[in-house]
């Protein structure tokens, strides 16, 4: 691997990784509050993008450049759709299986696991109604220029833009939650829901807000990652598993580590892809292998609440 290829792999890996970080942030946020793994989260990321595309462009998107108004509408709609989808999945498929009074009896793990999975399946199947092709090249609001590195190796400018946007948003959310009153409420609910409820915190509203925020972040991640390669309505599951793997690398709970885990996973995937001995096939297996290897050892993080 030449130095130029390594640089390219690093930059594109960091960009992809930053979007994984946004998804991982949502997983960690929700898990910290409720003990739940949001199994439909990847489908929400992809679903939000396709819903926004459906409204702004229609059912036959092409990878053309967008006007400013359309680009703004696309972004706003993806964020809103992500937030609404996420909150709806929580209300319909997860909440019925959590104990009414948190900290009381244990939650019905089998119930919310299956609930999240079938909710994700429903999102995928619904998307397949208007979007019947296997994959679509989606329009990209970001720039398409490249920077030459010599030897025919180029760096896409959009990788830097993706990295900047994802990091600014990710770190911004993390900082905001660490400092603001809303963040303090979330920490209170995650640390002792019963005590928080006794102090008059509406834990239910806090959890809804967290799911909404996680969904909006997923929508943004979906938008950033979608134009990089053709995206299909059923690609959400694997994207979600990549996000969970990143969150697990970040110990599933710490928001800062979730972003770091995303970056690490993105760079690892990118280097494996660039390494001729292994290639893209192994890069596709990497997050799954990491997931299977790490998940059973994170029993303390994955509290069966």
């Amino acid at each position: 691997m030449s130095a130029a290829v390594a640089q390219q792999a690093l930059v594109t890996g960091l960009a992809t990784g930053a979007t994984y970080g946004l998804i991982a942030l949502g997983f960690s946020l929700v898990h910290r509050l409720t003990g739940v793994i949001a199994f439909a989260h990847g489908d929400i990321a992809v679903g939000a993008v396709f819903l926004a595309v459906l409204v702004v462009i229609g059912t036959t998107p092409v990878a053309s450049s967008l006007g400013v108004a359309s680009a703004v509408a696309l972004i706003a709609l993806a964020l809103i759709a992500g937030a609404l989808l996420s909150a709806a999945v929580y209300a319909a498929a997860v909440r019925p299986f959590l104990p009414r009074v948190r900290g009381g009896t244990g939650s019905d793990v089998i119930g919310w696991v299956a609930g999240g999975l079938v909710a994700g399946l429903l999102v995928r199947e619904l998307l397949s109604l208007p979007f019947s092709q296997q994959a679509y090249a989606l329009p990209d609001p970001l720039s398409s220029g490249v920077i030459g590195l010599g030897g025919g190796v180029t760096l896409p400018v959009r990788a830097f833009e993706v990295l900047a946007i994802a990091l600014v948003v990710g770190i911004g959310v993390e900082r905001a939650l660490a400092r603001s009153g809303a963040g303090a409420l979330m920490r209170a609910v995650s640390e002792d829901p019963t005590a928080a409820a006794l102090l008059g915190v509406s834990t239910e509203r806090v959890i809804f807000a967290a799911f909404g925020l996680a969904g909006a972040l997923a929508g943004l991640a979906g938008l950033l990652i979608a134009p990089a390669a053709p995206l299909g309505p059923t690609d959400g599951v694997l994207l979600g598993l990549q996000g969970i793997a990143a969150a697990l690398l970040g110990r599933l709970g710490s928001l800062r580590l979730a972003i770091a885990g995303g970056l690490a996973l993105g760079v690892l995937e990118s280097f494996i892809t660039a390494w001729t001995a292994l290639g893209a096939r192994w890069a596709a297996l990497l997050p799954l292998i990491l997931l299977v290897a790490i998940a059973p050892t994170r029993s303390n993080g994955l509290l069966a609440r």
Binding site: L285, L288, P296
Partner: protein
Amino acid sequence: MSTIELAHDLYLLLAVLGLALAVAHAGLPMLAQSAFMAVGGIGALQLERLGLPIGSAVVVAVAGGAAIGSLTGLLIGRASAAAVALTSWGLAWLAYTALLTFPGLSGGAQGLTRPAVDHLSAVFGLTITLTPTAHLVLAALLCLLALAGSARLRRGPAGLDVAALRDDRELAVSLGVRAVTRRMAVMAICAGVAALAGAGISLLLGVAAPADLSPLLSLQLLAAVIVGGSAPLVGPVLGLVVIVAIPRLADWLTQGGSISDQAAAGVITAAILVACIALRPRVTALRGRAWRHDDAPRAGAARATAGDAGDAASAGAPPENDAASAAAPLAAAAPARPQAGALLLAARGLHCRIGDVEILRGLDLELRAGEIHALIGANGSGKTTALRVLAGELAPSAGALEGERVRRSFQRTHGFASLSPYSQVLAAARAGDPAPGGSLLRFAGMRDAEREAAEDRRVRAALALVGLGERAQDDPQRLGPGEQRLLQVARVAATGARVLALDEPAVGMGPQERERLLAALRELAAQGCAVLVVEHDLRLVAANATVVTVIDEGRVLAHGAPGAVIGDERVREVYLGVAA
């Protein structure tokens, strides 16, 4: 519906029956069933290509599936249910992605093929032609075998252990139930059955393709188990309905209406699955009500052997006399009664950290046969941590711990929610004195009547000890908090351990229950046990303990006879906050 379709659905039901053991009985949200089916289906065809006759290829592939299942069990041995779901979902996708990206494994997207109708030369020169009808009969037979086998397994010792682990893993492990081994066994059976189903389907259709073994199949099978619940007969029938009816219903709806579209069928399938999952809380509630039903066969067996066990509790003796009449020594694992005063456990200079806090700072403790040893101290002084270290749940960072195995109780009251008091104590008795290969022997129909009678005697003695002999078959949810605590003592005592550690056993007890508890503790001490009790009630301690150890900040502050220790001024100052 054609014969092929029916045979196919029956093979899927077989996979559901295997999965039900893991999901409904062991409480594991297992999502890797499609991967295990791939091991059987694709594995058998690959082995045939390597030159094995198809019959042997299936056997080897099923054995491979069981082996991979038990490795999965080892991997998730100590994981929480959420982690099990995540790991197994990851496994399903890992297997699927690997099959798709490495065509050498799976024969590419179109999969591996072989002639669907094939001749099998079986033993004794018989030749079986694998027609769809032969498959149908075979699949039905396998389903019946799986039903009978899992019913038998559930009723045996392994089934009781698995139910206890499902209800409260921490409690079961503390009583000595081997959690990882049991999980490996459950997963080996679950995966082996899935591999068999997978092999059956690929032989029936003459093709094994990755697309038919996607993780969505796992989800469909899980939904079937969830709808069926753990109901012995209705469950599988409902599961079959889910497998058979949903795709056909979706097809029928989309053909009947104006939208004739595969995508629409997909949406309807997903929507019905959502509805199935939404019904789950109700299914669980039904199971909760039906707990006695699950328990009945065991209860019957127990009564049958109770006649010659000389059971005093069922004769309606008043509770006060129960303890005295529990003549059978509980420490059955160690028949030789130790000399009173013999040293059973010695801890010297124990240190233990939790996080950054050093909780134990050089704790010394000696436990002797025949003593009721009270461990007292202010909140946060390290009493519960000391119990956890003694019981081997926490490793001390320094110090020596020598002596016998300690079994301990928890501060929380509730036990195994779906098991009768009798079964709860039986699980503890078996964990304390496991029969080597007992589960297998029982499964094979070989019963050791002598051992079962001995187990029954120990369980009845333990229940009588705490005056719960009358409540042996009651719904555990109907026991009061004090009775739950008495049941805790019975469970710990039934393990046969000679060093028992009880964490605040008298909390929430009325005066009568307290008397029963004290009688039980005295009886255990008289039988040669060392009973360590963490207790806050100093009057109780003063009147009943033979030795008192006071700890403060992880060290022994005072030690000796109750009168002397409780009168000690340092103790009064630290423990009661009374200025000297």
